[in-house]
């Protein structure tokens, strides 16, 4: 493969809060590996550019980075990409006046955007503070529009929490689409538009980038559809039956560490 001579650059998928907790647990269990791991991470930053392309839609980039730092993961705020600021920018560029169905933590990104007489609905985190009234308000705004537009931060079916899988924004988008026949625009993985934000931030060509994530369709499949390579980790929402699904990862690794190790051991080639 002609790419083998190139250094593999890398965009690692940031996992959800709950997953981070698992990573931390695993780390403390594998305490002896800590030093080696630090070295690998240093290698990774030395040899590659790293961005964290997340569908986290309930927290600001600052808080996402802080949470990861608290878990001992070396992440800078400017390396975190989440949908909310991208959606806000999209609204500015397209003169959209959104009805915001998002968590307070990401409202700052929408400062200065007109929200009266809305011509679209922006839907983000639905886990907390979600109630029938809130989704019904979004529904009423959509049904009154001549051409209803719903912008969602991702179209995930579920996300993994320590206590089990939880229904995600994609399901509520499907609900609103069914009842209002709205157009749904996903700004989050696996949309090409969103992956392009990551590519632009890295300033690299897709074939120079690897995406690492736990969601086969959204992370791995989405990246591959944009010309990047995709690594599946066997953590988070990974299930054994992923192997029967129509997306084949370029590599499957037990966890992020193993994925990095594999690449580092191969002289930063994949």
């Amino acid at each position: 493969m002609h790419l083998e001579e190139q250094k593999v650059r890398w965009a690692a998928g940031h996992e959800s809060e709950e997953m981070d907790e698992r990573v931390r647990q695993r780390r403390s269990e594998e305490g002896g590996n800590g030093v080696k791991k630090k070295k690998k991470r240093k290698d990774l930053y030395q040899h590659s550019k790293v961005k964290f392309l997340s569908n986290a839609k309930g927290n600001s980039n600052r808080n996402v980075a802080r949470r990861l730092q608290r878990l001992g993961i070396d992440v800078r705020e400017e390396d975190v990409i989440t949908p909310a600021p991208v959606v806000a920018q999209y609204c500015r560029e397209n003169e959209l006046r959104p009805h915001l169905f998002v968590r307070d933590d990401v409202l700052e990104y929408f400062d200065g955007i007109e929200t009266t007489s809305p011509n679209c609905v922006v839907m983000g985190e639905v886990e907390e503070g979600f109630s029938f009234d809130r989704i019904n308000r979004a529904f009423r705004v959509l049904i009154d529009m001549p051409k209803p537009l719903l912008i969602t931060m991702g179209n995930g079916k579920f996300f993994q929490r320590v206590d089990g899988p939880c229904i995600d924004v994609g399901a509520f988008a499907a609900a609103l689409k069914f009842s209002t026949n709205c157009e749904v625009l996903n700004i989050g993985k696996p949309s090409r538009f969103y992956f392009e934000q990551g590519m632009n931030a890295l300033g690299l060509k897709p074939e120079e980038i690897v995406m690492v994530g736990d969601d086969l369709m959204s992370d791995v499949g989405g990246a591959q559809a944009c010309g990047m390579r995709g690594i599946q980790v066997r953590t988070g929402k990974w299930r054994p039956d992923f192997e029967k699904m129509p997306v084949t990862p370029d590599l499957t690794a037990d966890c992020l560490f193993d994925a990095v190790k594999h690449i580092a051991d191969n002289g930063f080639r994949l």
Partner: protein, 257 residues
């Protein structure tokens, strides 16, 4: 044309509108009963059989409670037939129709109209049952939205669609216009019923009339209730009201579509 043996009759809009009977309908029903078996069929997600029965009685109709077959009855039948132990997302008022149904260790999710129960924790509970326990998803119906005094509200169809998307499954819908609904209602009259000898009378051209026709029944559209001009062009048999529909049946003038 083969002789008509069974007739399914819609309630609201066909026999009565709110608290008032369609003029002449109570007497016409008595006349019809001398010729055929009847069953009253309606889509409801929150009104129990008992509640509907009281309303129809108050309009002056002579009917028995067990003669009413609702989308909730169809759901109950389906649950018993498949030994489902449902997780109910249903209005408390409708729970009356599900007395005695076991619910521990659920293997099905049943969705009706219960807006206050539609929140992320109920949806996640339903999602997990379907995903992890392979529970069946059952919808009383898939209405998109409905009107209340304070404005429009999302209907159960929205939530059913959300769960279908998240789980990659298709819900079993039990109300009109599903084939299963008409079949179940008719089979309560005669387990070996010949559908071509059965007629549906209703004011909803899609849910009542076209649904019944798809099942192999004949059907009459009445121009009362939610009837809108233009509906009559979609079907063969149209009556000005329930009274005329009864005459068409007695005179065996109901054509097949």
């Amino acid at each position: 044309m083969s002789k008509i043996s069974s007739v399914l009759i819609d309630l609201s809009g066909t026999l009565h509108i709110e608290e008032l009977a369609i003029p002449g309908a109570p007497a016409a029903l008595e006349l019809l009963r001398k010729h055929v078996h009847v069953k009253f069929v309606t889509n409801t997600t929150k009104e129990s059989q008992n509640l509907l029965y009281q309303r129809v009685r108050n309009c002056g109709f002579q009917i028995e409670k067990h003669e009413i077959f609702t989308s909730l009855s169809a759901a109950r039948d389906l649950i018993i037939r498949n030994k489902y132990r449902p997780f109910f997302i249903l209005d408390d008022k409708a729970m009356e129709d599900f007395e005695g149904i076991p619910t521990e260790d659920p293997n099905a999710v049943l969705i009706g109209l219960a807006p206050e129960k539609f929140n992320d924790s109920t949806m996640t509970a339903a999602f997990r049952l379907i995903k992890e326990k392979n529970a069946s998803l059952i919808a009383i119906h898939k209405g998109r939205y409905y009107q209340k005094k304070d404005g429009l509200h999302l209907g159960p169809g929205a939530y059913v669609s959300g769960l279908e998307y998240a789980n990659g499954v298709e819900a079993k819908v039990v109300g009109k216009p599903e084939k299963l609904f008409f079949e179940s209602a008719l089979k309560t009259l005669d387990p070996n019923v010949d559908f071509s000898t059965a007629v549906m009378i209703g004011d909803d051209v899609n849910d009542d009339v076209l649904g019944a026709i798809k099942t192999g029944m004949r059907a009459i559209l009445v121009k009362t209730g939610k009837f809108r001009s233009g509906d009559e062009s979609k079907v063969k048999n149209v009556a000005s009201s329930f009274v005329e529909a009864v005459n068409m049946i007695i005179e065996n003038k109901v054509e097949s579509d």
